[in-house]
């Protein structure tokens, strides 16, 4: 019999984040499909009471908690100790967690301590009786594999955007509190807080419905033979403001900044999407002035509806990869779209 453990942590405000709730939907579904499985949940954080209440109706048999000031901030040493304690107490054979920066860092160490196996960025699963098969990408999502493992415990992190957010009415549950002592040797790292990247405007909005991808074409000479960086910056910021979109960028554009060329002050490497950047999940994507083939297109593999603005009707960024390609001058068209928004 499998014991499925759902692991999570609250956000800074004490509630569960979107990715945790989406993963919970996946775990509830996994528990429903896997025959003869036991479902338990584990929470780590400073105060996890709100998070436990939020997930209390999920059907887990036991709610393990490790809480206290030592677990408020994301610190590898203390997080690993807390997660290890929950995994050992629950006797979990399948451990599922959301893909968050906190868990991406700590969970591999827990898998190592428990002599388990780990698969990250899981994008789906199927169940055949008592056998679980997961799907995950390889070579930066350029191919998808379906695999299963017999080794236990099996740690899985589910990508965001795969399942809908879990919703359920809270019910009264009894938590099982685990006492995890954090000694000085595990407090060597002092987390001091957050810092915004060196960009003039915050343009990364993971919850946005639209991803606007700006390519290097914005920095090239236009029809008049001149480069119009200031105008391009104004147009891009305007559409981000009007549409509430998150900004993505091609590697060639963000690389210009490290090479000392004039680029946009609101853009950093964090905006990069693609083979060596992020692969965000937004329902819609609009790309303008992007060129390129497979490695760059990887950046919007998980974008639902995709539209492209480009002067080249044969653009590799668009053909066969986008739903609509507008053959037009991006400066003019994007400015007009912003006006209409």
């Amino acid at each position: 019999m499998e014991t499925i453990l759902f692991l999570t942590h609250p956000e800074d405000d004490g509630s569960l984040g979107r990715s945790a709730l989406e993963t919970l939907t996946g775990v509830v579904e996994l528990n429903r499909q896997l025959s003869d499985a036991k479902f338990v949940a584990g929470f780590i954080g400073d105060d996890v009471s709100t998070a436990v209440a939020e997930a209390s109706g999920c059907g887990a048999k036991t709610f393990y908690t490790v809480s206290g000031p030592d677990f408020k901030m994301s610190r590898c040493a203390s997080d690993t100790a807390a997660l290890e304690a929950i995994c050992r107490a629950s006797g979990a054979t399948i451990v599922v967690a959301p893909t968050t920066s906190r868990f991406n860092r700590a969970i591999p160490g827990v898998a190592q301590r428990l002599d388990g196996r780990i698969d990250t960025h899981v994008g789906g699963f199927t169940v055949n009786g008592a056998e679980l098969r997961i799907q995950r990408g390889y070579y930066r999502q350029r191919m998808i594999a379906s695999l299963t493992r017999t080794a236990r415990p099996w740690f899985l992190t589910f990508d965001s955007g795969v399942f809908p957010k879990w919703e359920g009415a809270p019910v009264a549950v009894q938590t099982e509190t685990l006492n995890v002592k954090i000694g000085d040797e595990l407090r060597k790292t002092n987390v001091t807080g957050y810092k915004a990247p060196l960009a003039s405007v915050q343009t990364i909005r993971p919850d946005a419905k639209l991803l606007f991808v700006a390519g290097v074409g914005w920095t090239k000479k236009q029809a008049d033979g001149q480069v119009h960086l200031e105008e391009a910056a104004k147009i891009i910021l305007h559409i981000l403001d009007k549409s509430g979109a998150s900004l993505g960028s091609s590697k060639s554009l963000v690389d210009q900044s490290s090479e000392g060329q004039g680029v946009f002050s609101f853009m950093s490497h964090l905006n990069q999407v693609g083979q060596t950047g992020s692969t965000p999940r937004h329902p819609k994507g609009l790309a303008a002035c992007c060129h390129g083939e497979e490695p760059h297109v990887v950046g919007w593999r998980f974008i639902g509806e995709r539209r492209v603005i480009n002067l080249d009707p044969n653009c590799g960024w668009a053909q066969g990869k986008a739903d609509v390609l507008y053959v037009a001058d991006a400066f003019e068209l994007v400015a007009k779209v912003s006006e209409l928004l």
Binding site: T148, L270, L325, Y326
Partner: protein, 269 residues
């Protein structure tokens, strides 16, 4: 910091990012068509880790850098031709498959064993570097697994910046959700740092560095330990290219106002 750090960079080769990749099923599991023929590069994130290690060695006196690479010996030799002139390092080679379908736990065990066997390594000064993910397996777990095997409790993932104070305190910026950085301070090594892109461009080739590196590269390749990677109990039921071919509607020779209206309505939907 008078004694400097001992930086071990874990980095292997991946197929050149511009290559078309096609999965094939072999007797030992999935692989890539013509895998051994595909041109390779140092994994992009590992390369950033190596450049950061080189920068650290240049700024903190007494710092030594090792590059531990796992891959087929012949391909590692080719790889060295392209990176040996970038930054000074001492090379440690492990002769094994660099396929993305290998198990990270097995790979981490091979890497940790090789690191433990580096004779001059002072573990109390160790900074374990690597990429925050790879362009092959793309799991983002190997540095943490190696760190755990080496008993390193302080680990950082998706790091873009590392600064060292005069007292030796490390300040580390990690990418977290929402386009922000998490700022942490560590009293000192040992710690494991899995790099994102960092902020440094690729160093230009320096033939003198290449000559220096070659002194350790060829002997390291000759004595590279052969490791068979296996993942007992793991079954790949299939590997395929995503079927994402879309029927692209091309809109051209249409007034700009009409296009703008269509896009605006679509965004507002």
């Amino acid at each position: 910091m008078s004694t400097g750090f001992h930086v071990v960079v874990c980095g292997s080769l991946v197929p050149d990012l511009l290559q078309t990749l096609e999965p094939v099923q072999g007797p030992a599991g999935p692989g890539l068509r013509n895998e051994l023929m595909l041109p390779s590069v140092l994994d992009p994130w590992a390369a950033h880790a190596l450049y950061e290690a080189g920068h650290l060695a240049a700024t903190v006196p007494g710092t030594r850098v090792w590059l531990v690479s796992l891959g087929p010996k012949a391909k590692l030799q080719q790889l060295m031709m392209s990176i040996a002139q970038k930054v000074p390092f001492e090379f440690v080679a492990i002769d094994a498959s660099a396929s993305g379908f290998t198990d990270p736990v097995e790979v981490a065990a091979a890497l940790a064993d090789a690191i433990e066997m580096i004779p001059a390594l002072d573990r109390s000064r160790l900074l374990l570097f690597g990429g925050c993910a790879s362009a092959s397996r793309d799991a983002g777990v190997t540095v943490q697994l190696v760190g755990e095997r080496l008993g390193i409790a302080d680990q950082f993932l998706a790091v873009d910046e590392l600064t060292v104070s005069a007292q030796g305190t490390l300040t580390i910026l990690e990418r977290v959700e929402g386009g922000k950085y998490l700022v942490s301070e560590v009293a000192g090594p040992p710690c494991a740092i899995a790099w994102a892109t960092g902020n440094r461009p690729e160093p230009p080739n320096n033939p003198q560095i290449g000559m220096l590196n070659m002194r350790t590269i060829m002997p390291a390749l000759q004595k590279a330990r052969l490791v068979q990677l296996s993942a007992p109990g793991t079954t790949f039921h299939g590997v395929e290219l995503p079927k994402q071919e879309r029927r692209t509607r091309i809109v051209k020779d249409v007034p700009i106002e009409e296009m703008a209206m269509e896009i605006a309505n679509w965004i507002k939907e």
